[in-house]
Symmetry: D2
């Protein structure tokens, strides 16, 4: 009944996102051991030193530079490692480079991995690389999760929260599909304060015009680009999103999260990783929820899946 | 009796340290409003967007880009703004550039400032710039605090904790003096588990050799250089240290922290900002504690103060 | 724009519920000052001593025995004071006794109260006594809140969470109306994982039978009786519910909570205190949300309101 | 290297202290599963229901009524079960009754216990009953811990903190020996703000008179009696103390705590359980620290040990 946890997370890739995720985990106190692994060992050492110097201010936690074998007995291995775009390199060339990094890295992570360890992929394109990780690792798909649209869902909530002046905790809305341009904000099931968005809208005295949904959708879809434009990268919200998924796993929470996971017939989709609301617990994804979409949303989801499938086909993995 | 708090922090300088401090504050839930102010407004906008997208994962908090007037009604204004070294620029030239930034910036921060707002300087050289802030602002010195050696003290604890295998929470040791090369780790009052370091050492079966204190002292003093060497800058531990000071102020804690503060005769020192253990609460520094140092430590502290005084003299502020 | 907070809560009634609420507040770290006030000063002293001895384990907080004047500068005054049923005493007689306690106590609480202090009534029957507090105090109704069905709403979520095996954080469902026998669980807007309850039910493979809603409703309505039967009183969940409301106020959150508040035409109801989802922030109740109910729910709500109105009429307050 | 944790605590005895400890654990989020076991199953059911209704307000946690077999795979089993004094019963008679309860209960707890589970005794007289638990269980003494003077140490810190107006977090002082009348507050190593108490005293401008230590010592020793007198029992601070010990174990912290543990030559003491500062981690007590006491303190400690040894002898266990 009780699953075993070790209170240990291994983070492969101590870059911007990996180190900030370690910091978020230190602050939340979920685990007592964090190993940082990076091909650039010096970078990982610098981050581990800086993080561990904060030890006196948080719940006791051991942050250190590790090796792949630190993944084997971790509760969760977070993969944020990846190459960045070289000048003149196309998106597809970058992806191919990352795929070969994963083909080399994943076997080292899983070599003698504990049968209860869950792998959480964050590197982009996250849906493709989660699929690759699953293929390469040969592990049960439930235990290979992509961070998917958990971040986009958080942005959807935040944007609605600010626009409608209600705490983000009272906004319930999902973004599904690809973590990327083809993602689908599910307006039909968006709720504020327990009311469907349209009802809340009519109850609210402000008149935001007929195009408000499109405007807000664009804001969500454009958020990552806008931040990268302004500060060069994103790290804080994605770190909190990743920490939230880790929490759901380590604490065996059965929390609903729009993680990226293998489709097996849901909404007629198959053999592709993408995000749908899913129940996450100590074993990874317990169940993918399939729920009512409008025809338009259904089509958008299928278009999103096709984009991903095409990319997988181009990679010629299968 | 009860002081008034607004649950608001303004951070001037949304760089590496400023943004990470905002993130640490979001995670700790101390305040419900964080304003980021930066001469590079776009950078501040990017950070505020990224941070606020994490809103659904933490206690409700409003993070936004502000202006200097957001400082006026904040509980604490954190100053992390500063110029970075230009190629060929000497340390003194950089300092002079930062001093003129402060001379321009501080009056805007304090123009109509609430009489209960505390200013917390983090920009380096923090002891000099805290003094400058005090001079320029004309505010009571209790309300102008430098982050001083709070970070170095945390490093001292961490290094001892790891070396002696005892939780950092059970190590009590201070670094005093300048936040910089001349800082003084006060070994004579270092305690582990309630025992003076020397007693703990003899009780412990390991033999760490006669030079262990010097080795560990060097490790602490060299930490910042080593991290900057490895990852280019430091941000995580300093952000937690800054958040800890903010906590002590906002929650009116009477916590002992080695913040940088105006010397007024303590250990025979005067008219210089440096760090000694001090009681920090809603009003800033309530009291600077003056406690027994060995003769060697006393001399080291005086040497540290002289370094700072010389630099202040060169600046010709007084 | 920024409201002023003092980080102080006064609790009138240091009984079972009042002391446990103080303990929950200590643990959450929301405020730094908690004053306990009770007609039985010795009881309050014992609780304050016991609570304050835990001070070394939590964020610094000052817990002490206070007087009515401690209410005047608090952010929130929580009222949990009340008489308990005497042998042979009818429910109406007990209520009359509590009303006269409130008529005596409330003016002392509000005598020189800060214009920003919010009063939060917890004593039962909470809807009636919130109304009485409002009448007696002559303060704006927004600032007199009853804890209402916040606890019942939490129970609804918990019962659904356990029954359907989904984290309570992903269940959204409200109980409205009286905090008592006539309360109304709003099944029509209950959501799990973003899906309406009925949809979730059909998606779920288990067959729970046609009467499952009635069974679960009974479980919620009977919960308080069952606990009182088994352990003599309830205190833990109500303390967390109360702390949640306090959080929403002190942190100015705009959180949706089913607090008890004055009806002014919502769903055709007037001049009675009862619970509907409401936006709570630093000023108390910002807005009462009026949203779609089924005809049956609408009728149940009206029946619930009538029960309360009759009781108010019997009291002959108006 | 990594020890295995399950994030589960079993509490035997769902009385005042047991239930409040469960509540403290819910608030701190350390574990995700709490089983309550009590001979009075109805009481345990009532507490579990009440606690679990708060689930929506905290990190997901499963609180339920369990059986002895729930102890077998817990990280920590907390024992707060015990009989209360009957009218006319002597202290020794009560103790004998509790000893026979433990002789019956402990074998059921340990029947098929995981080799990593730690037992934490809280029932009074805690030093005697920890010894009994060790004897009866035949488990390694490191894994049988008594809560000892962790609570008294917290009271010592709180009393010094309030008297000297310094945050409790900056006060370091231990109470050792018996958890009871013969306990020894170790003034010789008490530190405030890094300064020995006497130095702090001379630096402080107030003159508290020559008898201040005795006065404060009495306040600490009398605290439990005073609280029991005023409110009938103590529960809040002891619950936080117990949660702190659990944290140190589950998080493998190497924290120094004055838990009650088997003496094996420390300060010349043997074959008795009492409290000295000890390093606590996932395996229980890693090391008992033996540090300098004044002659008077040494004598007091021996007197305290004798009291306990006499009681053990009377019980005729060995
Ligand atoms: N899924 C999301 O929601 C989301 C959000 C933001 C960023 N991301 C993605 O996260 C990834 C990391 O972003 P970042 O900003 O941290 O980048 P970064 O460049 O700062 O960090 C990447 C790190 O990976 C390391 N690395 C490269 N190859 C490696 C290998 N073979 N083994 C181990 N480590 C290796 C690098 O040394 C570097 O430290 C990117 O792919 C980014 O697109 C995803
Ligand atoms: N005291 C400590 O313990 C400690 C530790 C680490 C860093 N630091 C210091 O903190 C400072 C900031 O470091 P960083 O890594 O964040 O640097 P950074 O370069 O990332 O950020 C500095 C920010 O200040 C802004 N800025 C410059 N001039 C400004 C002005 N006039 N008004 C408003 N904003 C202005 C810049 O636009 C930039 O965003 C440095 O001085 C660094 O040495 C102190
Ligand atoms: N609203 C809810 O969701 C909810 C849930 C649980 C309990 N309650 C209610 O909370 C109230 C308190 O319950 P409890 O279990 O703490 O009861 P309790 O008897 O333990 O505590 C009541 C306290 O009020 C004090 N008191 C009585 N008259 C007073 C006066 N004039 N001034 C100051 N203090 C006075 C008493 O001395 C006592 O300490 C009850 O009315 C109970 O029904 C409400
Ligand atoms: N060590 C400390 O610092 C400290 C502090 C406070 C209280 N205590 C002690 O904690 C103990 C519990 O105090 P309390 O206030 O919770 O008492 P309580 O009477 O409220 O609870 C004791 C519980 O133990 C249960 N119990 C009795 N026999 C049992 C058995 N054989 N198996 C299972 N459960 C059994 C009872 O049903 C009851 O629910 C007391 O011994 C008290 O002195 C210790």
């Amino acid at each position: 009944m009780t699953t075993s946890i070790k209170g240990k997370v291994a983070i492969v890739g101590a870059g911007n996102v990996g180190a900030t995720t370690a910091f978020a985990l230190m602050n939340s106190g979920t685990v007592s051991e964090i190993a940082l692994i990076d091909i650039n060992r010096e970078k990982a050492e610098g981050e581990a030193m800086d993080l561990s110097h904060g030890g006196a201010f948080v719940e006791p936690v051991d942050v250190y530079v590790g090796d792949y074998e630190d993944c084997w007995d971790a509760d969760v291995v977070v993969i944020t490692a990846g190459a960045s775009q070289k000048p003149g390199e196309s998106r597809m060339e970058l992806l191919e480079r990352n795929v070969s990094i994963f083909e080399d890295m994943v076997p080292q992570i899983t070599e003698r991995i504990d049968p209860e360890t869950v792998l959480l992929v964050v590197t982009n394109p996250v849906d493709i690389l989660s699929y690759v990780t699953w293929e390469v690792s040969n592990l049960p798909h439930e235990r290979i999760i992509g961070s998917g649209t958990v971040l986009d869902t958080a942005r959807f909530k935040q944007v609605l929260s600010q626009h409608c002046d209600v705490a983000a905790q009272n906004v319930h809305a999902y973004v599904i599909g690809e973590h990327g341009d083809s993602e689908v904000p599910v307006w039909s099931s968006a709720h504020l304060a327990g009311m469907p968005f349209d009802d809340f809208c009519s109850a609210c005295l402000r008149d935001c015009g007929p195009d408000i949904k499109d405007e807000l959708s664009e804001k969500i879809a454009g958020a990552a680009y806008e931040i990268i434009d302004k500060k060069g990268a994103t790290n804080y919200a994605v770190a909190l999103a990743t920490a939230e998924i880790i929490d759901a796993i380590v604490r065996d929470e059965d929390t609903i999260l729009t993680v990226s996971t293998l489709m097996q017939g849901q909404h007629g989709l198959d053999d592709v990783y993408l995000s749908l609301p899913s129940v996450v617990n100590r074993r990874g994804v317990r169940q993918v929820l399939e729920y009512d979409l409008t025809d338009e949303e259904h089509e958008q989801l299928h278009a999103s899946a096709e984009t991903l499938q095409e990319r997988l086909d181009e990679l010629d993995l299968r």
